[in-house]
């Protein structure tokens, strides 16, 4: 595939740079479904992880889920991808009830949900472009599905991958192996992968927790831009309150599995933060690194 892809590399790169601006605009025609979370509860071995959480998430919102470790943030996110089933209650993506999905329908749901992980979860021994092309797998039809088993993708798919990489500014690393990239670069490739996946909703599980402040801001800026330009719903779990304040349209606060806050970041007062994170060991507003710290580093 390498020869086939690089034969027209120069033209592909030019196309990719021109096409980069088009990626999110093309997706703008797509409206994310309304996500209705209705009294969802979940226990693991008797331990309550989610306690009757209800929320409605409207299309195009950037939602931050905040809370302490073990508050149920990740469990809620995993319920949305149906990586875990809800114990009781229901989740609807538009008209689709996630509880009823299995087999093919479940795979189609996962294709519509782009997932970003704290540990990036790229295939480390594959090249950047192959990792981005993974996002195209659910869209392949006919013989192309079989060709993909040998990592062969037709030029149209490769062009999509190059545009997505250009969109996150990773085009020059396209032929490198994923494990040669820094954490921030890997997360940007992971974002390119879900852009190629063309999802209806983006879920991000602690997308910046493994990154330094500058890379974290770069990744959050990219997610924010995707949400603003394309109208895609982005739901991210975050444990830095300042990221939630700086980027989200809406903040959902979880404490011990229960929903304790649901509103715009402006309403997130210090008293609210104490309610979400608790009092001990230090006042949170000063315990968290702040954006001015980041600016000082820069």
């Amino acid at each position: 595939m390498a020869c086939r892809a690089s034969r027209n590399l120069h033209r592909d790169v030019i196309d990719a740079q021109r096409g980069a601006a088009r990626v999110t605009r093309d997706m703008g025609a797509i409206v994310s479904p309304v996500i209705r979370i209705d009294r969802v509860a979940k226990s693991f071995r008797g331990k309550r992880a989610l306690d009757h959480v209800s929320a409605t998430i409207h299309p195009g919102q950037f939602v931050a889920i905040i809370g302490r470790s073990g508050a149920g943030k990740t469990t809620l996110l995993r319920c949305l991808t149906r990586a875990v089933t809800t114990g009781s209650g229901s989740i609807h993506f538009g008209d689709v009830d996630l509880g009823t999905l299995d087999g093919r329908a479940l795979r189609e749901h996962r294709a519509r949900v782009g997932m970003i992980y704290q540990q990036f979860n790229l295939v480390r021994r594959l090249r950047v472009i192959d990792n981005v092309l993974v996002g195209r797998l659910p869209h392949l039809r006919g013989w192309r599905r079989w060709a993909a088993l040998a990592r062969w993708f037709d030029p149209a798919e490769q062009a999509i991958a190059l545009r997505c990489l250009a969109h996150v500014g990773m085009l020059e690393k396209v032929w490198q192996r994923a494990d040669t990239l820094s954490g921030g670069e890997q997360q940007r490739v992971a974002i390119a992968k879900i852009l190629a996946q063309d999802p209806r909703v983006i879920l991000a599980d602690e997308p910046v927790a493994s990154l330094d402040v500058l890379n974290g801001r770069m990744v959050m800026d990219t997610l924010r831009r995707i949400a603003s330009e394309s109208g895609l719903t982005v739901i991210a779990t975050l444990h830095h309150v300042d990221y939630a304040r700086g980027y989200a349209d809406r903040v959902v606060g979880l404490r011990a599995g229960g929903l304790v806050f649901n509103g715009p970041p402006a309403e997130l007062t210090d008293a609210m933060l104490v309610d979400i994170f608790g009092e001990y060991p230090a006042p949170l507003a000063t315990a968290e690194p702040t954006m001015s710290d980041a600016a000082a580093v820069a």
């Binding site: 990036f120 979860n121 480390r124 993974v134 040998a150 992971a190």
Partner: protein
Amino acid sequence: MSVAAGALAGLGTGPVPPAPPHASSARRNLLVLLGAAVLFAVAGRIIELRPLELVRDVGNIGQFLKGYLNPSFANVGEYAWQCAVTVCIALWGTLLAACISVPLGLLGARNLAPHPVVYLAARRLMDVLRAVNEFVFALMFVTAVGLGPFAGMLALGLHTGGVLGKLLSETIEAIDPGQLEGVAAVGAGRAHAIAFGVVPQVMPNFLSYILLRFESDIRSASVIGMVGGGGIGFYLWDTIRAFNDREAATVILLIVAMVMCVDVVSSRIRRVAI
């Protein structure tokens, strides 16, 4: 080196704090040693261990050596050809083994098996293939497909298939699940998830296992002719049984040379490919 400085000034002096008591393991070690000694003594009696006979019959060994130090080159062409046949048996046997091991390894990996029953069935099948020695398989295939290298290759392939399958399934169980989840999460089907999430992770190890087993298959193939499986093994058996020491020496020399050549080639491949 002294700790009696700065903030740690107090640590160099003063009474030693009493540590909590701990059990001594000397008694247990002695018992283990005694048990092992008894076990080996009994085992030695059973196998009629008589090291003195090595010394007493040193004259016979000299008799042997005389023949072995004068290898005969009368039939060396035929022996060399049979060595080539042996390498071919090992090549095809390893290929067959790799083909058998891929489905068995995938189904026998706990994290990929579609159902626990499938997992158990694949694991037990691999156990059977590994438990039955390639010689036993060779005896079966000689009756099924007749004498010759084809029977030997089938026997090697089946046995090695079980070994490679087990190694592969354990490699798959040790993969980083995050990379697989990252592929499965885009809604990829099972085959795609394996091709992208599993294969790149296990490929280097699997290739190196295949090379390792190929080297071992060469050694097995060099004796499988003793039971009719083709290759140089037939002449090895024939010349030794007939006390044809000079011919046997040639055969053994050729086998040693062949094994060394294959080891050199395969280690070179390993360095380049993996």
